[in-house]
């Protein structure tokens, strides 16, 4: 048993102890659940892929939370303008090693330190992907539950609409949405400074960047609008297979409210494939929002958005900007690789086949 499993198992035990103290008898009642959780932790921690992914995710989350405080240079300065003595001597503003007095990890064409910018970029990327996926998953789950459980005309209307959204290439639809939303968002943010303040602090940007924040938000809303249909589809499918089973009939016979049946009985039973989907989607959403910024639909300079940084560097690629593409590209790769690795391991965790084979080998115990 490796150390990660012991750590996870210890946390589960402590949690169970606490719950048991609060409501006596909880441990005995939920023993099978605890064994199940520990088994999942065991399967997850015994896969190298999952652990690597977990470490990557932790590192990127750490950078997303503390990156803006670690970054040693404000993003909205233009060192090249402040150093007229350098202007003539430099080969060209984006420079790597042959520019005196500028950072070792290379600069962009404003003379800003790329490494510092990229560290700030983690915040924007992760905030975007996590909120996009969570919001659209919630929308999709609600619509899917409603459509699958109620059936009839509601189902027909919701699913036809979902099909229509799926029939159209997502990236192009997102481009259209973000253009539509941009101007009205800009007006809205101009007239609501306190809202702008909140959004700016979430993205760790300067509130004076209101137009850029509006662009960021437009990409953000556009992606939510195109992201929910697959969730609605998947949830509806699983609800259809589960809702005819005995325990749902029993819950209905007991006279439980529809809300309770949906959220206490149906949802937990379809959650595991959804969790895998959500984890993979964190990666896809990171890349999609970067792609939209790359196409020029997201924020404009000087916002430290990774997709934007790469698209700006593209004009000088490769001689005068390869380090920019490498550094920002690696950041994006690390974020999405982390989520993808975790998702891949989670799929094994929830796969009944691997579970059964491991269940026999391991002896999972829950302290009484």
């Amino acid at each position: 048993m490796n150390i990660f499993y012991r750590l996870g198992s210890w946390i589960v035990d402590k949690y169970a102890e606490l719950r048991d103290k609060l409501e006596p008898g909880w441990l005995a009642k939920n023993k099978s659940k605890l064994v199940e959780t520990k088994l999942s932790i065991y399967v997850f921690t015994s896969s190298k892929i999952g652990l690597t992914g977990l470490i990557l995710v932790m590192v990127t989350l750490f950078l997303a939370i503390f990156g803006p405080f670690i970054a040693w240079e404000p993003y909205n300065v233009y060192p090249i303008l402040l150093r007229p003595d350098l202007a003539g001597k430099l080969p060209h503003p984006p420079c790597w090693s042959n520019c005196e007095g500028l950072p070792w990890a290379g600069t962009d064409h404003y003379g800003r330190d790329i490494l510092s910018l990229v560290i700030r970029g983690f915040r924007i990327s992760l905030v975007m992907s996590i909120i996009i996926v969570f919001t659209s998953a919630i929308i999709g789950i609600l619509l899917g539950l409603l459509s699958g459980y109620s059936g009839g005309i509601v189902d027909e209307v919701i699913m036809r609409f979902t099909d229509m959204m799926l029939a159209f290439p997502g990236l192009i639809l997102a481009i259209a949405f973000s253009l539509t939303l941009r101007l009205s968002l800009r007006d809205f943010m101009m007239s609501n400074p306190s809202f702008t303040q909140i959004v700016a602090s979430i993205f760790a940007l300067d509130p004076t960047d209101a137009p850029n924040l509006a662009n960021l938000l437009s990409v953000f809303l556009a992606l939510i609008l195109v992201w929910w249909p697959p969730y609605a589809r998947v949830v509806r499918g699983s609800v259809l297979t589960i809702k005819e089973q005995g325990f749902i009939e029993a819950a209905k016979a007991l006279g439980l409210s529809t809300r309770k049946i949906l959220f206490r009985h149906l949802l937990p039973n379809i959650m595991s494939p959804l969790l895998v989907m959500i984890t993979f989607d964190f990666a896809t959403a990171t890349l999609s929002s970067a792609a939209l910024s790359f196409l020029g639909l997201g924020p404009q300079p000087p916002v430290p958005d990774l997709g934007l940084i790469i698209s700006q560097a593209g004009q000088y690629f490769p001689e005068r900007s390869w380090w920019i593409v490498v550094e920002a590209g690696t950041a994006l790769l690390l974020i999405s690789l982390g989520w993808n690795l975790v998702g891949d391991a989670l799929r094994d965790v929830f796969d009944p086949k691997t579970r059964r084979s491991i269940e026999l080998k391991s002896k999972i115990v829950v302290r009484e």
Binding site: A167, L171, I172, A283, F294, D344
Partner: protein, 352 residues
């Protein structure tokens, strides 16, 4: 249900989807709070009477539903004019769609070339080093930002090794175009089909035996194709591996083993059974390539449908938006239909 009934039902259920998609994109563009006519003519002040005329020509003074009906009607009769370039959008689409088809074909070629052999090997040597490698390869393929991969492929294969073209798109010679039109006019139905296929320069070059066009197309398109293949090849390999393993564990194969078939025959059976889900995924992948390769088209500078639609949307060019949406819905429907058809051909148990 016979195939004919199925076809009709399919058509009836898809018609609303097309109209819905057109309506959604139109309304999205319509609610953008700027003046499209100004966006077309640019910031330079044009004389007001021209602006008025443009407004009248495209029915911007009419309510939205009339304007929508006008655009769709013009599109279906082929007389919708792009206000920026002044040519019919049908012609523009006819020019750009073959290029996208080429890109999609090359992308699919490399995806299959990378994905299927790797998947089969991974399934045959399950839990070995190569299986692990395929898994990592697939994960990397879905994690790397597409544009970063494209930049580095350009760096290696264009800047260091001059193995690819990056500008222009090969087109058919006038003689070849004439030959194709001749074929269309002489042979009744088949000729029209050959002519349509020949519009893609790659195939047109083969039909009129003009191999310089083919060679140029290959050297222009192989790199973007390889890039697309590297991105999705690993994913396809995983699908191939998993569905092969499922097929190998099925009762059909157990029975075949019990009958004492050689392992060669068993593999042939398993491969055939594993093929149906793979075809579905590949078909949808191809549909995706036909519509959504905007990033590849931007970085590799290929004037295809994705870029066309992108420019149309950013410039609020309503005729282009409507035409592009129409094209995309048709592609989606045709691809879905083809996948179903191939599915039925491969798996005789599927009946509609």
């Amino acid at each position: 249900m016979g195939l004919g009934t199925y076809l009709v039902r399919r058509l009836i259920t898809f018609l609303p989807s097309v109209i819905g998609a057109l309506l959604i994109t139109y309304l999205i563009a319509y609610v953008i709070p700027t003046d499209p006519v100004r966006a077309w003519v640019g910031e330079k002040l044009m004389d007001p009477s021209t602006l008025e005329k443009l407004k009248k020509d495209y029915k911007f003074d009419a309510p939205w539903y009339e304007q929508f009906a006008f655009l769709v009607e013009k599109l279906l009769t082929g007389s919708l004019i792009d206000p920026v370039r002044g040519t019919p959008v049908v012609l523009q689409v006819a020019q750009r769609f073959p290029i996208t088809v080429e890109l999609a074909i090359f992308g699919m070629f490399f995806t299959v070339l990378i994905g299927i052999p790797l998947g089969i090997i991974a399934a045959a040597k399950k839990d070995s080093f190569i299986d692990f490698f395929v898994r990592i390869f697939a994960l990397l393929g879905s994690s790397i930002p597409a544009f970063v991969l494209y930049y580095f492929l350009i760096l290696v294969f264009y800047v260091y090794i001059r193995a690819s073209l990056l500008a222009g798109v090969p087109t058919l010679s006038p003689g070849c175009v004439a030959t194709l039109e001749n074929i269309r006019n002489t042979i009744p139905i088949l000729g029209y089909l050959i002519w349509a296929v020949g519009q893609v320069p790659l195939f047109g070059g083969i039909i009129c035996l003009d191999f310089s066009v083919v060679a140029n197309t290959v050297s222009r398109m192989w790199l973007p194709g390889l890039a697309l293949g590297l991105l999705s090849g690993g994913f396809i390999a995983r699908i191939v591996r998993n569905s092969l393993l499922d097929a190998l564990a099925s009762e059909t194969i157990l029975f075949a083993k019990a009958r004492g078939l050689t392992s060669n025959r068993i593999w042939r059976h398993a491969l055939k059974n594993a093929f149906a889900p793979i075809v579905t995924i590949l078909g949808l992948d191809f549909a995706g390539l036909l519509t959504g390769a905007i990033i590849a088209e931007t970085v590799f500078n290929i004037p295809g449908m994705g870029l066309y639609m992108y420019q149309g949307i950013t410039r609020l060019n309503f005729p282009i938006i409507i035409a592009g949406t129409f094209m995309f819905s048709i592609i989606y429907i045709v691809m879905n239909f083809l996948v179903d058809l191939i599915y039925a051909l491969i798996d005789p148990r599927v009946r509609y």
